[in-house]
């Protein structure tokens, strides 16, 4: 049934997040067909109404488009896809920075910490 949902957050928002991540990770590529509403409902273990709402919202955001009688497809509009990628990056950064600030780290400490970590990780990879 895939990953569990957090019951205290709207499920359609969590589903939007999952699909957006799949698009950014290129598990779903530009122009690719999404599962039908019922398939997606079964795959993710949620109500078809919730999936319908998810698809409508993604369509409103321009991330997917519904073609009559054919189904729902990831947009091929590169500008939308790259802004989706930027948005997700920004969300992660905001989350990180808020958490760090809450624990009392200064901006400098964060930047230094990141640089150090990336250097070490880069060294380990090479």
């Amino acid at each position: 049934m895939g990953e569990e949902f957090n019951p205290s957050k709207p499920i359609y928002l969590q589903l939007i997040e999952r699909i957006s991540h799949q698009i950014v990770r290129k598990e779903l590529s530009a122009g690719e067909k999404l599962p039908s509403v019922r398939e997606m409902a079964i795959q993710s273990g949620v109500n078809p109404n919730t999936v319908q709402r998810t698809y409508s919202e993604l369509e409103r955001m321009g991330i997917v488009e519904t073609r009559r009688g054919q189904g729902t497809f990831v947009t091929e509009d590169e500008s939308i896809l790259s802004s989706l990628r930027e948005n997700l990056k920004e969300q992660q950064i905001i989350q990180f920075i808020n958490d760090m600030r809450e624990m009392g780290y200064t901006d400098q400490e964060m930047v230094r910490g990141l640089q150090e970590y990336l250097r070490k990780e880069g060294g380990a990879k090479a």
Binding site: F5, P7, S8, K9, P10, I11, R38, G45, N47, P48
Partner: protein, 231 residues
Amino acid sequence: MIEFKQVSKRYGTKHALKDVSFSLPTGKVIGIIGENGSGKSTTLKLIAGLAKPTSGEISVNGEVASRRISHVVSYLSESDGFYPFFTVGDMIDFYQSQFADFSPAKANEILSFMKLDRSQKIKNLSKGNRGRLKIVLTLARDVPIILMDEPLSGLDPLVRDSIIKGLISFIDIEKQTVLITTHEIEEVEPILDTMVAIKDGRVICVQDVEELRMQENAGILDWMKRVYQEG
């Protein structure tokens, strides 16, 4: 649409429901939640026409709920009323003989989804498979309203999972409304659109579940703990 108008139901001196009024949206999966003895099963039986209100009126798609409402309502009982000497196939044929809207093709489809075999004797079925068979019989009818009284109770996690998956796969949400009573809130929560919360014979709310999450940052279980423990 299902509508309760000032409905009370008394069993002897015990009030199961007290002056309850509400209406339910169509095309939704609706969970009826509440503690043991709060009136959940009574609510379903009243909609199914299997119990009569002591006072008040219940209507289903504009028709007063009586025993004859079964032509638009498919009801899954908490207990199982199978003849032990029947096979799975006999049971399906029996249902088909009783309900004109029963679809043998759909029944077979759900049977194979549930990995049941027509030739199996009912007395030899495990409890889990009897639970699955009830789902087959209930969902194979082409009716606008499906009522399920505790479809998951006493079943192991794998059976519960197959029942929930079966529900998502075989209901036609554009044409059907499903009402479920359950204690297995966590498992059912992701498939509910709406909840009806009952406490001591009174309906305390009919609530869209996604809205609840949005407004209160709480799921059904969190909400119940808060509301029901306040006393």
